[in-house]
Subunit: 232 residues, 2 copies
DNA sequence: CTATTGGCACCTAGGTGCCAACAT
DNA sequence: ATGTTGGCACCTAGGTGCCAATAG
């Protein structure tokens, strides 16, 4: 994922559906992004692979993206697809725009938090998400990404250009569709939720995620709460 | 004010500051637009005046613009300038976009409503604003306007073009500044709140509005609540 | 005749990857 | 050699009044 000083959106954006909330209870919904491991990476061209290149840089100020519809009733949240498309990433550790601060060349995992309103008094864009009984965290391992300031892999560039409406100016309509379609399939992040996935094994991420054998939908479950990723 | 089938913003937008709310109470804030009288108007060029041209057309479906930040705490509302710039007007009586429906060539008065959350169960974009103890309505007579589908008065056109950023393409930089500035002064709607105003006498609008003799600010008062118009 | 409509050129506002310059 | 930056052309999305055509 590209990160800049000014702040850059994630693409594609995380989109989820939620069920199992109390319709009449108020909730905040938030996202934060946590390191997958303690490593710094570099991209090795000749093998087309990310390789460990030392230990992670020192931690950055904690940031939380509170979904702009927050707070809202369980009914409201469950009725809509919850999109995080306005969330922005930055590599500026002094950022004052409330963007999520990350290190370049590191691996990260986005997390979705559901916070009962009465447990959200301590919720803040610049403090870690509070923990407790009324707070649940969900994550989808196939959404793990590596941060960069410039694309390392020409295929990722192609993918972004072809799927992001704002990059239409760079599209090459005479491009090899065969290669592109095959490539899309190989990146879980873009994969429609309706097909079978094999998850990467991400150390440190609890495997609460499941796959509905009938629909192929990816979902994450906690008590009676279910979060499901939706197609872009 | 221009109205179209697709919906058009008001320009300039209404902007208010509010004080006297209970900081911890939740409120909706909404706007509706009511007829000033029962007349239809036409513009007479040679006298540069709006003249009565018969009785008003039949009533249109009631519409309410609920401020998108609703509901929010009194504290939140009082901290910010409350802007109604996303509100749109239409002359399409079959509108399904939730825009406010008006007749062309009629005179209207925007109203701001402050609704305590527990009194807002009946609040809806397509129903009249509920009345009762927890609901207060404010209006500023200098914001009365006449609806059109095309500008009747070349001076209004000039004013809009020169003040609205989206109309920059029509600006004539070599234009008579003298005439324009004098014109701005003569239209109360644009006048900065910090100068003395003489209100037009609008029949049917209760005169709860006041002027602070020291600051010249226009404000509207109900119990301990005070609404004040802000400069654009 | 007057009032309305829809397509248009021209803006604002802001999200893309590119690329040459720069930093380390 | 590798990673980062800022200006840029090129988009999306949508708010202006203009104007010729149309409706009544």
């Amino acid at each position: 994922m590209i990160i800049t000083k000014a702040g850059r959106r994630m693409f594609p954006a995380m989109r989820v559906k939620i069920s199992g909330l109390d319709p009449h209870q108020q909730y905040y919904i938030a996202m934060d992004i946590v390191p997958v491991d303690n490593k710094r990476y570099r991209y090795v061209y000749h093998s087309s692979k990310w390789m460990v290149a030392g230990n992670a840089d020192s931690p950055v100020p904690p940031r939380v993206y509170i979904h702009p519809d927050s707070p809202a009733s369980g009914e409201t949240w469950m009725r809509q697809v919850i999109s995080f498309d306005k969330l922005k990433l930055t590599n500026n550790e002094l950022d004052d725009q409330g963007h999520i601060i990350l290190h370049s060349m590191h691996k990260y995992q986005p997390r979705v938090h559901v916070i009962r309103k009465d447990c959200g008094d301590d919720l803040s864009p610049i403090k870690p998400v509070p923990s407790g009984d009324g707070v649940k965290a969900f994550s989808f391992p196939e959404t793990v990404f590596t941060t960069v300031t410039a694309y390392q892999n020409q295929q990722i560039t192609r993918l972004k250009i072809d799927r992001n409406p704002f990059a239409k100016g760079f599209r090459d309509s005479g491009r090899n569709r065969m290669g592109l379609e095959a490539l899309v399939e190989s990146y879980a992040f873009w994969r429609p939720s309706l097909r079978t996935l094999t998850f990467e094994d991400i150390p440190g991420i609890p495997k609460q995620e499941c796959r509905d054998l009938k629909t192929g939908c990816i979902f994450s479950k906690l008590d009676n709460l279910v979060l499901r990723q939706t197609k872009a």
